[in-house]
C-alpha cells in the first residue's frame, strides 16, 4: 500500500512539475467574482463586528465580489476542493500537500504579487506549500495549537501537555478524567507524538509527522490511555467554547480564536505553549487548478499580504501574521498583539504537514485516519 502510494505520489508530483511551465506572466482584468473556502473567522466582512472587515475594501478596489464557504476541518476543505467550483482555499499543512498531490491546486507566479516582499522570511520556502521549487500559494496566517486552561483550576499555568494526556489530579484536587478535550482529527496523533518526543526520548522521535511503526504504536498506546479521560473530541470552535463555559472543561488543546473569544466573554481562561512545544498550523491561500476567476484570485492573494489586513486577521483569529510588518501595522492587533499570540514561539512549533510513507519508512496518513477513528470509538 505505502509503496503504491509513493509511486503514485511521485508520478503526480512529476506531472505537476511539467505543468508548471505555463505560469501566468501578467494579470488580466478582474472577473467580478471570487469564491473562497476558508476557516470560520478567517475572511470577515464586518458582519460579526464592524471594525473587523478586510473584504469590503478589496471589493471596492477590485470589483471582485467575494463569496466565502467556511469549512470546519482540513478533510472537509480537501473534499470541497475536489468537488470544485472554488477559486481559493486557506489550506492548513495537513491539507496542502494532499491538494498538491491531487492536482487540485496550481503553482503561482510570485512576481505577480507585489506584496510578496513583505513575507516573513521564516515562512519562505515552507515545506507545506513549496514543492520542487514551485510555490503553491501565499502564506496567510500561522499559529500554535495552544493548551487552553481554566485559571480557576490552574492558579499557575500548566507547564506540560501531561494534564491532557495522563490520568492525574489537577491543582484543584479533582481528577482530570472527563475534564479535558482532544482534537477530533487524525492530525492530533502528532500532538501525542510531540509529547512523547520529550517524555520518552528513547523512542527517538525526530518529527511528529514522520513516525516509524514502533514509534507510531507507542503514540497510539498513549492516545488509547487518553481516551477514557476525554470529555469530548472537539472540532467545532463554538461547541468547545460552550463546553469550557458550561461543562467544566479545565484543559484542552485549542486555538487562539477560542481563547480570545472566551476571554472577551469574561471567562477565566488563558493559554500556554507547554515545555514540550506545540503543533501548529501555517495556512496558505492556494489557487484551484481550475479556478474560474484567477485574476481576482491573484488580486486577493496580493491584498491578503498587506500589513493591515494581516494584522486585522491576526487580531480577530488570535493567530499570527505571515507579514512581520503587520505586528506594528494594525490598531486592532495592538502593539503587544504579536507577542501575546506567540510570535516568538515559531521555533517551538512543529507545523502540521501531511504524513507520508516516503518509501515505507513512515506510517502514512491513511493509517492515521483509520486508527484515530478507532481510538475515538474506544478501541
Amino acid at each position: 500500500m505505502s509503496v503504491h502510494t509513493t509511486v503514485l505520489l511521485g508520478a503526480l508530483l512529476a506531472s505537476a512539475g511539467a505543468q508548471a511551465a505555463g505560469l501566468p506572466q501578467k494579470l488580466g482584468a478582474g472577473e467580478g467574482q471570487l469564491d473562497i473556502i476558508a476557516w470560520p473567522g478567517y475572511i470577515e466582512r464586518g458582519d460579526s463586528d464592524k471594525a473587523y472587515d478586510w473584504v469590503t475594501g478589496f471589493e471596492k478596489q477590485t470589483g471582485c465580489k467575494v463569496n466565502v464557504k467556511t469549512a470546519a476541518t482540513s478533510d472537509e476543505m480537501v473534499s470541497l476542493m475536489t468537488k470544485g467550483g472554488y477559486d481559493l482555499v486557506t489550506a492548513s499543512g495537513d491539507a496542502s500537500l494532499r491538494l498538491i498531490a491531487g492536482k487540485r491546486v496550481q503553482p503561482i507566479n510570485t512576481a505577480l504579487i507585489g506584496n510578496w516582499k513583505n513575507l516573513d522570511p521564516r515562512l519562505q520556502n515552507g515545506a507545506w506549500y513549496v514543492v520542487k521549487d514551485q510555490v503553491y500559494g501565499t502564506p496567510y496566517q500561522w499559529g500554535p495549537n495552544v493548551l487552553l486552561y481554566n485559571t480557576e483550576v490552574f492558579k499557575t499555568p500548566p507547564t506540560s501537555w501531561s494534564v491532557v494526556f495522563e490520568p492525574q489530579n489537577l491543582p484543584d484536587g479533582k481528577p482530570n478524567k472527563g475534564r479535558v478535550q482532544a482534537y477530533d482529527g487524525p492530525i492530533y496523533i502528532a500532538d501525542a507524538a510531540l509529547y512523547l518526543k520529550t517524555t520518552q526520548p528513547e523512542l527517538g522521535i525526530q518529527s511528529p509527522y514522520e513516525l516509524t511503526e514502533k514509534q507510531y504504536q507507542a503514540v497510539l498506546e498513549l492516545l488509547r490511555k487518553q481516551q477514557p479521560l476525554i470529555h469530548r473530541y472537539w472540532h467545532d470552535a463554538t461547541v468547545q467554547m460552550s463546553d469550557v463555559k458550561n461543562e467544566g472543561v479545565a484543559a484542552t488543546s485549542s486555538w487562539g480564536y477560542m481563547v480570545n473569544g472566551l476571554q472577551a466573554d469574561k471567562q477565566p481562561v488563558a493559554s500556554v505553549v507547554p515545555k514540550e512545544g506545540a503543533t501548529g498550523w501555517a495556512d496558505t491561500t492556494m489557487l484551484h487548478s481550475e479556478a474560474k476567476h484567477p485574476n481576482c484570485a491573484y488580486q486577493w492573494m496580493d491584498w491578503s499580504l498587506q500589513p493591515k489586513v494581516q494584522g486585522d486577521v491576526a487580531a480577530w483569529f488570535g493567530s499570527l501574521p505571515a507579514v512581520p510588518a503587520a505586528c506594528t501595522g494594525s490598531e486592532l492587533l495592538g502593539a503587544e498583539g504579536c507577542k501575546t499570540n506567540g510570535f516568538d514561539n515559531f521555533d517551538k512549533i512543529a507545523f502540521w504537514k501531511t504524513p507520508q510513507a516516503e518509501g515505507g519508512k513512515f506510517v502514512p496518513y491513511s493509517r492515521w485516519t483509520q486508527d484515530y477513528i478507532a481510538i475515538m470509538g474506544g478501541r
Partner: protein
C-alpha cells in the same frame, strides 16, 4: 354509420376510442410516470449509490477511481467499523423499546378515554414538538443536560447527585457528564422520536372494538390476561410500524450523536464524515448498506412474529 364516424373522427376522438378499447394501455399510460419516478429516480439513485461502494478510494490524494473492489465492504467488518455498527444498533434497539413502553399508555389513553376537544388537544400535544426544527431541539437538549443546566439543577435540588454519579459510572450507560453520556444521548433520541411511536399505536388501538374487551371480561379473564391475549396482539402491528420509524431513524441519525453523548461515531456520523469531510464516497456507500440490511433483517423478524398478519 357510427363505426365509420369513430374511425374517421378527429385524431383526439380516435385516441379516445383506442384507449377505450384497450383498457390496459390506458392503465399503463397512467402508471408510467409514477413507475418511472419510483424506478429511475428512487430505486435508480439508491442502486447507483450502492454501486459506488465498489469503487476504489486513494487515501493520500483523496480521489475516487472507478476500479471495482470489495475492500470497502470487507472494511465494514474490521473491529473499529464493527464497533460503530454495534454501537448504533444497540442504541436503536434501546430507543425503540423505551419509546414503545412510553408511547403505549399515552396511545391507550388517547384511543379510549378522549373524544372531541380533548382528543384534538392530545393530537396537537403529541405532534407539536415535530413542528419545531429538529436541530434547535437537539441544541436545546445540550443546554438542558449541561452541567449548569436545568436537568442537573433538579438533580441537585432533589439531592440525587450521588444517584446520578452512580448512573454515570455504569459502563455502556454513563459517561463523564450527563451531556456526554450514553444516557443523555438516549434521552434525546427517545424525546425526538416518541411522536413517531405514539401515532401508529394510537391508530391500531382505535380500531380495537370495545366489544372484544367486554367479551374477554365476560369470559372471566383478568385485566392482565385481557391485555396480554387480546389487546397486545392486536396492537402489535401499530408497535411494529412505530418501531420501524424509531429504529430506522436512529440508525441513520448523525446530528444527535455529534452533539450529545460520549466520543465514538454512529453509522450516520461515519457516513457524514466519510462523505462530507473525507470525501471517501465508496466507504460512505458501503456504510449506507448497513442500515438497509439491518432494517431488512428487522422486518423479517417482525413479520415472523406475526406483526403483519392483521394488516
Amino acid at each position: 354509420m357510427s363505426v365509420a364516424v369513430a374511425t374517421t373522427g378527429t385524431p383526439l376522438r380516435r385516441l379516445g376510442n383506442l384507449l377505450y378499447r384497450r383498457p390496459n394501455l390506458y392503465l399503463l399510460m397512467l402508471l408510467i410516470p409514477p413507475l418511472l419516478w419510483f424506478g429511475a429516480i428512487y430505486l435508480g439513485s439508491l442502486l447507483n449509490l450502492l454501486w459506488q461502494g465498489f469503487y476504489t478510494f486513494d487515501d493520500f490524494s483523496m480521489t475516487v477511481t472507478p476500479e471495482l473492489t470489495l475492500v470497502n465492504f470487507a472494511a465494514l467488518f474490521n473491529p473499529a467499523n464493527f464497533d460503530i455498527i454495534l454501537r448504533t444498533l444497540s442504541m436503536a434497539v434501546a430507543v425503540s423499546l423505551a419509546s414503545a413502553a412510553l408511547a403505549f399508555p399515552i396511545a391507550w389513553y388517547m384511543a379510549r378515554y378522549t373524544t372531541g376537544r380533548t382528543k384534538a388537544f392530545f393530537y396537537i400535544a403529541v405532534m407539536m414538538p415535530m413542528w419545531a426544527s429538529y436541530i434547535v431541539k437537539t441544541y436545546a437538549w445540550t443546554l438542558l443536560l449541561a452541567k449548569g443546566g436545568v436537568a442537573q439543577w433538579f438533580v441537585q435540588r432533589l439531592h440525587l447527585e450521588g444517584l446520578l454519579q452512580l448512573l454515570l459510572d455504569i459502563p455502556g450507560v454513563g459517561g463523564s457528564t450527563l451531556s456526554t453520556s450514553h444516557l443523555g444521548r438516549f434521552l434525546v433520541f427517545v424525546y425526538i422520536w416518541l411522536p413517531f411511536m405514539i401515532l401508529p399505536i394510537q391508530a391500531s388501538l382505535e380500531r380495537l372494538p370495545p366489544s372484544l374487551l367486554q367479551a374477554s371480561a365476560d369470559l372471566g379473564a383478568k385485566p392482565r390476561q385481557t391485555f396480554m391475549q387480546v389487546v397486545l396482539p392486536l396492537a402489535v402491528p401499530g408497535i411494529a410500524a412505530g418501531s420501524i420509524f424509531t429504529f430506522s431513524l436512529t440508525l441513520g441519525d448523525f446530528i444527535v450523536p455529534q452533539l450529545v453523548g460520549p466520543p465514538g461515531y454512529f453509522i450516520g456520523s461515519m457516513v457524514y464524515a466519510q462523505q462530507g469531510a473525507i470525501g471517501n464516497m465508496p466507504m460512505a456507500a458501503a456504510f449506507t448498506l448497513v442500515p438497509i440490511v439491518l432494517i431488512a433483517v428487522y422486518l423479517s423478524i417482525v413479520k415472523r412474529l406475526g406483526a403483519f398478519d392483521a394488516l
